[in-house]
Amino acid sequence: MTIDAVEAKRLQLPVITVPVERGRLQFFAKAIGETDPVYTDLAAAAEAGHPDLPVPPTFFFSLELSSPDPFAYLRELNVDMRQVLHGEQSFEYHTMVHAGETVTVRPRIADVFAKKGGALEFLVRRTDFVRGGELVAEATSTLVVQNAKATS
């Protein structure tokens, strides 16, 4: 196995504090073809009971990527980005988050394991999203590293 599991779990992933920007949510909505005006139009959002544009369910993953170099930890673990696939993703939601709020993103490497004699390695990252001391959402990402040269 090429990823050192002990080292990976010991890695301190950067904690970042991200202001949720309205324009960024509108751009995200455009990119995913969102047609529900609640996600792009303030009046529609207000009519649906939101104080501002809501953060859509998968945008939390984008908040995680808001650091200047979000893939730095993969390089530190000598992982070739080109060999990485996203295997699984999950979110748990505790409350809605809106534009104008600030979220602190706390990721950590929760697990590292291999399958097929090291040909596939799995990196599990867990992330807490906190707003003013309140846990608002949690995410778990499983990345799959395909080691073409590994022998089974």
Partner: protein, 139 residues
């Protein structure tokens, strides 16, 4: 509220969510999603990088399909009712793939509805499977 959003009493085991069909994914879609999502991994947008990894072409971000899938959910119930969503990315989505998102209520327990989710391409390839939990008391 969109037209598809339903009343709480309409949620029952076996109910199908109105499918969400999105247009074929173009290279422009991938470029926009890379910028908007913050996932700048070049494997999705730079043909040279894809080829250097032994691939014939770039392929879509998994999170783009998951974003479509959660559009299926929030087009059906208000987002505040969505308690969790988890997916497994089963196959990559090639450029020009046209994902169709479907969902079905498979259980309701104590007000929480479990929705089985799928994203598939026109050729029948299942690209994503998953499950969401919807709090029917928040609809």
């Amino acid at each position: 509220m969109t037209q598809n959003q339903l009343q709480r009493q309409e949620i029952r085991v076996g109910a199908e969510l109105p499918p969400l069909t999105v247009p074929a994914i173009s290279r422009t879609t991938l470029a926009l999603f890379a910028g908007a999502s913050g996932d700048h991994n070049p494997i999705h947008i730079d043909l040279d990088v894809a080829r250097s990894a032994g691939l014939d072409d770039v392929f879509a971000h998994g999170m783009l399909s998951m974003a479509y899938l959660t559009r299926l959910l929030t087009g059906w119930v208000p987002q505040r009712a969505v308690r969790s969503c988890k997916v497994r990315f089963a196959a990559v989505t090639p450029v020009h793939g046209a994902p169709v998102c479907t969902g079905r209520v498979v259980a309701i327990d104590d007000g929480l509805a479990t929705i089985a989710l799928t994203v598939a391409l026109a050729d029948g390839t299942t690209t994503l499977t998953g499950e969401a939990v919807v709090d029917t008391t928040r609809i």
